[in-house]
Amino acid sequence: MLIATSNFLVPGPTFVVELVIFLVVLWTLAKYVLPYANRMIEARQQTIERNLNEAEEARARAQELEEQRARQLAQGREEARRLRDEAAKVGEQLRQDLQRKGEEDYQRLVESATADIQASARRAAEDLRAQVSELVIAVVERVLRDGISVSDQQRLVDQAISEVEALSTLEGVAPAAASGAPASAGGAGG
């Protein structure tokens, strides 16, 4: 059986002590603990908020940089394309210039070579003429001095004629050999 020594639902003097203890605890927490706790919680919330804001700023900045990078990349590509086109144009120009210049040089060289050859040929012909003249004069002088026989005359005339022929043959050789012709003719005549 349950034994109740007194009616424990009726508040007694203990009530006052309990009330005092409770109020002391309430006062202590309200004065010395909760304000600090609230301040700390607020500080943390501010920190979190600040961190979030910073993260948001960093994200925006990163996006801005990314856009800037993309823009610069596009500009770079455009620039590269422009330079390539320009280079191609310049290269084509250069190629044409060089070609033209090469053709001109070639033309000039050909003309100059032709002129040289003609000059050489002319000089060779002149040399030949001079040598033939000298030869004829020498033959004539020898004939007049020695009084040679008919057979000797004939032989000399033949010799002179063959020399002249040899020179004439040389003169008819390709212009490239023209410069060498007078020397060999001169050698034969000497």
Partner: protein
């Protein structure tokens, strides 16, 4: 002879306390020292919080405190707005003190009220003290918020014939508030006493059931602390925001 009736027919002292008469007044000493112990734990945890509090990474005690403070703060601000943040210390203190009072009973005694550490909330005096404080604070706040005339008029709102009911309702708030807490914790203690009063040959079952019940009692202790604190905030809110009771 060993019917269930006789098994349970054991002498369990109910509402018995360690009493001491001082100047003609009788005090329940066990309730008082246990309340002092619980209060010391609460204040100690509070001062520990204050000493070790940090805005960066909090320790476990701080996390627990902040959980409670934030919960009470959210309830208060949601119901009454930031103006009434002054209600937060009352709610927090009530919750934490009741929780610790309910939980100091965790070591079971061999019969009721001589628990090694009996819950002071199992003595009606502490719940009364808490409920009376809530009653006084909420009514003072109601008077401050509305003025005397509108405070009185609130009881006589239409339909006027409900006025006596409204007065009784207001007066019953502290009674239900305190007796709900007292009854739950008190009966938890009686349950332990009954379980431990089983005859010796029930020994293993007695131990097992006591452990299970004690764990459940801890749960009840937390729920009751929660309900008391929540109702305190709700009564506070009614007092300052509602036109009629």
């Amino acid at each position: 002879m060993h019917s269930a009736g006789t098994l349970l027919a054991v002498a369990i002292p109910v509402g018995d306390h360690v009493k001491r008469s001082i100047g003609g007044l009788t005090f329940d000493l066990d309730t008082i020292w246990m309340t002092l112990l619980a209060g010391a734990i609460v204040v100690g945890l509070g001062l520990y919080l204050r000493a070790r509090m940090t805005a960066s990474v909090p320790n476990k005690v701080q996390v627990l405190w902040e959980l409670i403070i934030n919960w009470v703060g959210d309830q208060v601000e949601a119901g009454m707005g930031p103006k009434y943040r002054r209600a937060v210390p009352l709610g927090v203190t009530i919750f934490v003190l009741i929780l610790v009072c309910n939980w100091v009973e965790i070591l079971p005694g061999f019969w009721h009220n001589t628990d090694y550490l009996p819950a002071p909330t199992a003595d009606a005096n502490l719940p009364y003290a808490l409920a009376v404080t809530v009653f006084v604070v909420t009514n003072v706040e109601s008077l401050r918020a509305r003025g005397l005339w509108r405070y009185i008029k609130g009881f006589f709102a239409r339909p006027r014939w409900l006025a006596p009911i409204r007065v009784i309702e207001e007066l019953m708030k502290p009674v239900t508030l305190s007796l709900r807490l007292f009854g739950n914790i008190f009966s938890g203690g009686i349950m332990v006493a009954l379980l431990l009063a089983f005859p010796i040959y029930f020994f293993p079952a007695t131990i097992a059931l006591s452990v299970v019940w004690k764990l459940f009692d801890m749960f009840i202790g937390a729920i009751q602390a929660f309900i008391f604190a929540l109702l305190t905030i709700i009564y506070y809110q009614f007092a300052v925001t509602e036109e009629a009771h």
